[in-house]
Amino acid sequence: MSDAPKPKPRRQKPEAFNWRSVRRLYQVFFFLLFVLLLGLASFRYLKSFPVSLYLEADPLLALTSLLASKVLFAGMALSLIVVGITLVFGRVFCSWICPLGILNHVTSALPSVLKRRARMLGNEWRPIYRTKYYILIGILVLAAFGVLQVGLLDPIALTVRTFAVTIFPGLQLAGVPLYAVQPAYLGGWLIALIFILIIASNRFIMRLWCRMLCPLGALLGLIAKFSLFRIQKDHSKCIACHKCTEACHGACDPHDKIRVSDCVMCLNCVYSCSVSGIKYGFLPPVDNEAPAPDLARRKTLAAVAGGLALVPALRTSTGVAKGANHDVIRPPGALAEEDFAAKCVKCGACIKVCPTGVIQPAGLEAGFEGLWTPILRYDIGSCTHTCTLCSQVCPTGAIRPLTPQDRVGKPPDQEPVKLGTAFFDRGRCLPWAMATPCIVCEEVCPTSPKAIWVEPAEVKKSDGTKVAVKLPHLDASRCIGCGICQNRCPVGAKAAIRVSSVGESRSPDNQILIKSY
């Protein structure tokens, strides 16, 4: 037994091109790809690009939409690839692929004003980081009952929505020509605020969103429990210098028994360890890891109960099942409202791609469940007659895929897609109420034969003279509810012809004219 002090192991200088470099390259690639794909979602550039690729590859969106609608729709099968990657490599998605994760990582990696010890303490694991699992459980319980609210907190849906509603329009304001016309979206300020808060929180606690709130991270963490490759530490070399903890993004205690489910594969620990005692390898010994994720039983039950209680609370409110707001007009191809609520993940891809900007994120018009789901606001735009872009980009099929032929129909066998019916407000209409010729509505009506027909008449002006006008009428059997009449009506404040959802193809009950079920 020697009393000589242990020689201080020297940290091996990491090579220039190490795995962190690989990670950084992937981060740049995947973030740019995300922005590029979303930017391609427009009439000019869409072609057949898979602009909803990230949404389709998101396992949380796939799982919850499957639970809610009992269908794994088309492209969502790509999420199995991400599941496979996680099963082999761990939560690489969180740091290498997820756009929100990458932004959080970059913001967290900026130089900190805190001292070493404060940084280290900030990165220790806290029990409150279990919250993301409870959120995940709540979301899954709701989805099992057909209530899909995952879009509120799923990072991909959130980021796509934020880019579509605030960031891209903001760039257009700053001069980047992304759109032909500057778009504006209802309630965009709230969506921007939430995003700013998430990014800013990284300056207080590194990757706070990823550690504490992200339900996708929670799901991938549960899968990563079985991953084949993971971080492993050689305890015999450790000198408890905590350099790993200072650099750790996931707060997964690399200095101790690592919490595999929380490790976001930033690989910082590997390259900051003073004794090069941490590495990433195949199936380390079991005692290397803390059992994960170690949920408190009472809190888990509370999460389940909370989810269960929310289902009747939401479904006995008007909006989805009954008493639907007839001003809520959904995009062409949208499913009937109950099915729509089980499929829409509020991602905003349809909002981004819409060429006229008529698709807007809803507030509470469609009930709380409808928050940020797409509705059409004809005071802002109108729905182009043969356009099917929104149906092409919807990842879950909440707006089911349409061909232009499906939209226009093929009389007499195949009806066109109807979004609603227009109604004249004769007290405001220029020819009807103000003895002024107009008929812009009839002019722009795209159906042939037109749904708006005019009847010549002579009306008296205020000075007693007669003026020839054409009085417009609506044929409800031809109207497709596209809203261009409402959008172009010169009567401001409230158009003299307005569209209501009644008569929409997607609903068997919301009809005026008699027709077979």
Partner: protein
């Protein structure tokens, strides 16, 4: 450089069994995810269809010998006695109801009114029919209608709920479920129909004679509106076709027309006793068009001018000239 030590068993060497255990755990998760994806995958439809199978309504008529009168009109002050007399003069309920039959009686219970207001079928007539069916050996007699006003109030204030339950019949009050899609031959297409009308073996139509602003009269053929759910408020856009097509769909075993009180004006809801006239008659008939035509004459109108009656005759549901059937008239008091 660490000094050489006696190498301890390296805890990082995964031992075979642990590797297999971990690999199989990962494989099972992968398999479960893949299996779930494969079972639930659908490249075309975003939601599974919840459509239930369409149903069909059978013909409820029974074959009778030519000696059975096609129409009997019983007059008197007691509606129950009138009903019994009319049925017995036809040959008795045993001609129509076999032992063990599941019988459905369809009165007009559409409105939240009391019997004196003559908006719904007289409860005494309905109850007497229930008794007659049970006497003929029916295993079960169900009385039902899908009202326009609130169902509970309609069945209660019309007096039919109590009257039927007192004689051993059952009342089925429809809610939101229990409707199945039936294809109605003709222009109407598919509509939701209340299930008892689909499953009953024998159906007896028991309308009341009332004025109606659109069809001039609402009698037996229009009584069948009460089998439907869904957007009934749109049927008026095709009123004659819908009445005739529904009558062609539902071929009742028997039609018993309640003319005890007649609503002469402001139908089909009525309300004021001044609109009600005493008719003191009950008619039983095998011919739904003829008995409706007779009812129209009680309202001082001409049945040959009504489109829905003419359509019914065209569809060979019966004849408008009820006198050609030689209806038998009898007095009970």
């Amino acid at each position: 450089m660490s000094e050489s030590k006696q190498p301890a068993p390296d805890p990082r060497d995964p031992d075979r069994r642990r590797v297999v255990a971990r690999l199989s755990a990962a494989a099972m998760v992968a398999g479960a995810a893949g299996l779930g994806g494969w079972v639930f995958y659908d490249g075309e439809r975003p939601v599974r269809s919840r459509r239930r199978a369409d149903r069909f309504v059978p013909d409820h008529r029974v074959k009778v010998t030519p000696t059975v009168p096609a129409m009997v009109i019983a007059r008197g002050s007691d509606p129950a006695r009138n009903t019994r007399a009319a049925i017995e003069r036809m040959g008795g309920m045993k001609l129509f109801i076999d032992k063990g039959d599941d019988v459905l009686i369809k009165p007009n219970v559409g409105w939240d009114r009391m019997p004196t207001q003559a908006a719904n079928t007289n409860p005494a007539v309905v109850a007497e029919l229930v008794k007659l069916c049970l006497e003929a050996g029916a295993s079960r007699v169900v009385v039902t209608d899908h009202p326009v006003n609130d169902p509970d109030r309609c069945f209660a204030r019309s007096g039919i709920l109590e009257a039927v339950q007192q004689v051993g019949g059952k009342v089925a009050v429809p809610g939101t479920s229990g409707f199945f899609m039936v294809t109605i031959p003709g222009k109407l297409g598919r509509w939701p129909v209340f299930e008892p009308f689909i499953t009953a073996k024998k159906v007896i139509n028991v309308p009341i004679v009332k004025h109606h602003s659109l069809t001039r009269a609402t009698l037996g053929m229009k009584n069948w509106y009460g089998i439907l759910g869904g957007r009934r408020n749109q049927l008026h856009q095709r009123i004659d076709d819908s009445v005739a097509e529904l009558a062609a769909l539902m071929r009742p075993t028997l039609t018993v027309m309640d003319a005890t009180r007649i609503l002469m004006r402001n139908g089909p809801t009525g309300g004021s006793l001044a609109d009600v006239k005493a008719g003191d008659a009950v008619a039983a008939s095998l011919d739904p068009v003829a008995v409706d035509a007779w009812g129209v004459t009680l309202l001082d109108a001409d049945p040959t001018r009504l489109g829905w009656l003419r359509l019914g005759e065209q569809k060979r549901l019966g004849v408008i000239d009820f006198r050609s059937l030689n209806p038998i008239e009898l007095k009970t008091t």
